[in-house]
Symmetry: C2
C-alpha cells in the first residue's frame, strides 16, 4: 500500500486529537512584539520542541538566535531523497481589545466548523498541518523524503534573528525545497499557490514638543500640540487620489505584464469579493487598477496606530505623539530608498517648536517566485488530491520576512501553499481557522511529500 | 486674643501632621474619568466625610447625586454671621504613564519643599488648605462665620451631578459667598485672584469604516483607514495662523477692553514666563495677542488623545479611530453653537466609505467675575496677611465646571483664591504642591474667614 494512503487514513482517524493539540498551541499568548510576553514565547517554543521530539524528529533544538527562539527539528530518511524544509511561525499578532473577541483570544475554541483563537490561521494552524502530516507518516510507515521543520518566533516582527543568521551564512539547515503555509486561498475548496509577496517597511514616527504633558486649559492656544501636527503630517502622506505622496515612491514600481493582468482578472478575487472581505467600500476610486492589483501589485502606506503614551486625560496636551507606519513594497522598490524618502518628507514638513524622529522598526523585501518548475507542479498535484481542485496562482499583499532571505541564501525553490481564508481575520479579532481546510491541508502536505520524491529533485542537499 | 491669631498659632504647630494627612488624601486614585476607579472615589469621599466629622462639622453626608459622590459638611455658628461656601474637588485627572513619574502618583511624597502626587495641587491640596483653616478655628476657639464645605467628585469631568442639582433647584446649600481654590498664582509669593475662566466643551469624534480590524498587507491599498482620515480631519481644524477653523467660531468672541489689556500686560505673565512653563516655543506666531491673552481671553481647540481601541498591532488597519477634542470658550461663545459648528464641519468633510460620529463628553460655561465688591476686598486683605503681598487679578485659561452654575443659581459673589503654581504640573506627571503655599493658603483662609465677618455681609443666607 502507498505510504501516503496509510498516512491519510491515520490523519483522518486522529482529527479530533489534532484539533485539541492545535487549541493547546493557540493557548500560548506568543505575541512577539510584546516584550512582556517573551516568557510565553519561550514556553510555546518548548512545547513545540517537545511535540516534534515526541513525533520522532531528531536534532530538535531551540535555535540560539537573539530574541525569540526558533524551533528546529528534522527527520533524515535517505541520502538519495530530497530534503524539504517546512517553515512556519508560532508567534502571533497582539490580540487587541478583548471585548471585540467572542471567545478568549488565547483559548482555542471550536464553533461550527472553525477553530477560533489568535494564531489559529496565522500561522499556528497552517504550520501545524505540515507537522500533523509528518506525524501521520512517522506513525504509519516510512517518510518518503527528508524533512526539516523550522518554526519562527519572530515572523510578525520581520524575522530579524533568522534573516541575520541566513545572511551571515551560519544557518545549519540545507534543503532542496521549502514549503511555507502562511498565505490565503480564495475559498475553502479553491486552493492557491502564492507567487508574489509584497515587502514590508515599518517605521515609527515620533513628534515631540512641550517638555511635559500640559493642562489644555492653561496652555491651549499657546503650546504646540504634537498630536495635531502628527495628524496633519499623516494626512499629507497620501494624495487625494490615494497615491502615496513620497518623492520617488513609484519610480521603481514594475508594471504588471498584460498576460498576467488577464490571468489576475480571470482567476483572482473580484473587487466585490475584496469589498466583502474588508467590510467597507474601497478607500478611493482608481479606474486603472482592480482592488486585487491595488493590494498585491501596487505599494501601499498605512498608519496602523497613533499613541500619546503619556497622560490619557481629556484635558491634556500631550508632550509627544507616536505613529506606526506600515509600508508595503512591490518589485523593484527599495526599502532603504523609501525610508529615506519618508525621512526627507518628515524633515521638510517639520515646524517650529516641534521635533520629529523617524525610527525603523522592521524591513522585509518583496518576493517574486517562479511559477513553473517541478516543485510548483508537485504542489499543484498535491492540492488536486487534497482539495479536489486545481490551484490558482495568486499574488499576496502580505509579507513573509524570511522568504527573500531564503531565496538569496539557500537558492532553492519555494512553495507558498496557503490553507487560510480571506475571512479568517488574521491580525484582527475573532481570528479562526476553517477546520475542513486544516484537514485538507494535512492531506495536501502528505501528498506533497510523496510527490516531491517523484519530482526528480536529486537529494543534493540532504 | 483675636481668634485668628490663635488659629494661626495652631496651624503652624500642626504643619507636619497636615502634610501627612494631605499625603493620605493623595493616596486615593480618585480618577473620575475612569469607571474602574468608582470604588476609589467612594473610598476617598468616605475618608473626607469622616475627616470633616472629626473636625467638628455637622450634617456631614455624601450627596446622593448620580455618579461620584459630593461630600458636604457645615458648621453653623450664628444666624447673624455670613455663610461661606468652600468648594473644592477630590477627583483627579488620570496619572498617565507611570514611567514619567519620579515617585508613584498615588503616594504623596515630600521632596524638597514640595509634596508630589496626582491631585497634590489640583485640587486636593488647595481644597485641604481651607479644611485645615477650619480645623484651626474649631480646635482653638470660635469660628467667626458659618462655613459649608462642598467637595466634588466630578470636577474633572465637568461636575455633571452638581450642575444638574443646582439647575434643578434641589440644592440644599445656602451661602453669602463662595471661595474656590483651584487656580494658580504667578509665583510662590505673588498671590492672585482669578476673575475669569474659559468655558470647556469636550467632544469625542469617532471615525469608523472597515467591519473589523484588517491585515495591512492583505488590505493595504484597498481598505479606507479611519485613523488616517481622522488625522486629516484634525489637521483641518486649525488654519495655518493657528485660528480655529470652524464656521462662526470667533463670531461672539468679546474683545478685551484696552484698560484691561494694559493691566494684563503690566501684571500678567510675560510670553517668556509662559514659554518657560510649557517648555516649548509658541504653537504659532500671532503679533496681535500675547500668550497670556491667547490662553485666557481667546478660545482654543486641542486634540488631547487619539486611540484605535482595538488591535494595537503594527500591521493592522484599525476599524475605528477616536479623538478627544477639548475646546476652551470665552465670553460670549455658546457651547451649543460651537458643538453644532464642529458637527457641521465633520459632516462636510465626511468621505465615502467611512462614518463619522460626534458625541458630547462635557460642557462647562465660561465665567467672568466682578473684581470689585467687599468679598474680593476681603480676599485681597487676607492674601496680604497670608502671603505678605497684594494679589494681582488674573484671567485663567482653565475651567471650573460649577462656577457658572453657582453664579446663575446661588447668585452670590465668588472668589477664586489660587494657591497653585504654573509649574505644579497639573494634569501632567510629577504634579506637586509647593508646601510653603499650602501653609500660606491655610493662613490666608483663616484671615479670609475673619475678614469676611467684617466685610458687612448680612447673614441673609445662613
Amino acid at each position: 500500500m502507498d505510504p501516503a494512503i496509510r498516512a491519510i487514513a491515520y490523519a483522518r482517524k486522529h482529527r479530533a486529537r489534532f484539533v485539541d493539540e492545535l487549541a493547546e498551541l493557540i493557548a500560548f499568548p506568543s505575541v512577539s512584539s510584546d516584550a512582556r510576553r517573551a516568557g510565553d514565547l519561550r514556553s510555546c517554543a518548548a512545547w513545540l520542541a517537545d511535540h516534534l521530539a515526541r513525533l520522532g524528529l531528531t536534532d530538535v533544538n531551540l535555535w540560539p538566535a537573539s530574541g525569540h527562539p526558533l524551533v528546529w527539528g528534522r527527520r533524515h530518511v535517505s541520502a538519495g531523497a530530497p530534503t524539504l524544509l517546512v517553515y512556519g511561525h508560532y508567534d502571533v499578532q497582539p490580540e487587541g481589545a478583548r471585548a471585540a473577541w467572542q471567545t478568549p483570544p488565547f483559548r482555542g475554541t471550536v464553533r461550527g466548523s472553525n477553530l477560533y483563537g489568535r494564531g489559529a490561521s496565522d500561522d499556528k494552524g497552517q504550520a501545524f498541518a505540515h507537522i500533523k502530516a509528518l506525524e501521520s507518516y512517522l506513525a504509519t510507515g516510512e517518510l518518503p523524503i527528508n524533512v526539516s521543520v523550522l518554526l519562527d518566533g519572530e515572523e510578525e516582527i520581520g524575522s530579524p534573528g533568522l534573516v541575520r543568521a541566513l545572511m551571515r551564512g551560519d544557518f545549519p539547515i540545507r534543503a532542496d525545497a521549502i514549503v511555507i503555509s502562511d498565505t490565503r486561498i480564495p475559498a475553502p475548496d479553491r486552493p492557491a499557490l502564492t507567487y508574489s509577496l509584497r515587502g514590508n517597511l515599518q517605521l515609527e514616527l515620533e513628534i515631540s514638543g512641550p517638555a511635559r504633558d500640559l493642562h489644555s486649559g492653561y496652555f491651549g492656544g499657546s503650546a504646540p500640540n504634537p498630536l495635531e501636527y502628527l495628524g496633519g503630517l499623516i494626512a499629507r502622506l497620501h494624495a487625494p487620489d490615494g497615491r502615496v505622496a513620497l518623492d520617488g515612491f513609484y519610480d521603481r514600481v514594475r508594471g504588471i505584464p498584460s498576460q498576467e493582468r488577464a490571468y489576475m482578472a480571470a482567476r483572482g478575487p473580484s473587487d466585490a469579493a475584496i469589498v466583502r472581505a474588508q467590510g467597507s467600500p474601497p478607500a478611493h476610486r482608481n479606474r486603472d487598477y482592480s482592488l486585487y492589483e491595488r493590494t498585491t501589485a501596487l505599494p501601499s502606506l498605512t498608519v496602523t496606530r497613533i499613541t500619546t503614551e503619556g497622560n490619557a486625560g481629556r484635558a491634556t496636551i500631550p508632550s509627544r505623539a507616536v505613529a506606526w507606519i506600515d509600508i508595503r513594497l512591490v518589485p523593484e522598490q527599495d526599502a532603504k530608498a523609501i525610508a529615506q524618502s519618508f525621512r526627507d518628507r518628515v524633515a521638510a514638513l517639520q515646524p517650529d517648536g516641534l521635533r520629529a524622529a523617524v525610527r525603523p522598526l522592521s524591513a522585509t523585501p518583496w518576493v517574486a517566485l517562479d511559477r513553473r518548475g517541478p516543485i510548483q507542479a508537485a504542489a499543484a498535484a498535491a492540492y488536486r488530491r487534497g482539495f479536489g481542485s486545481t490551484p490558482v496562482f495568486l499574488r499576496s499583499g502580505g509579507s513573509i520576512g524570511v522568504v527573500a532571505a531564503f531565496q538569496r541564501t539557500l537558492r532553492v525553490p519555494i512553495v507558498l501553499m496557503g490553507f487560510g481564508l480571506p475571512g479568517d481575520g488574521a491580525h484582527g479579532p475573532n481570528e479562526k481557522f476553517h477546520l475542513p481546510n486544516f484537514f485538507r491541508g494535512i492531506e495536501t502536505s502528505i501528498w506533497f511529500m510523496r510527490d516531491l520524491r517523484r519530482a526528480g529533485l536529486a537529494g543534493k542537499r540532504a
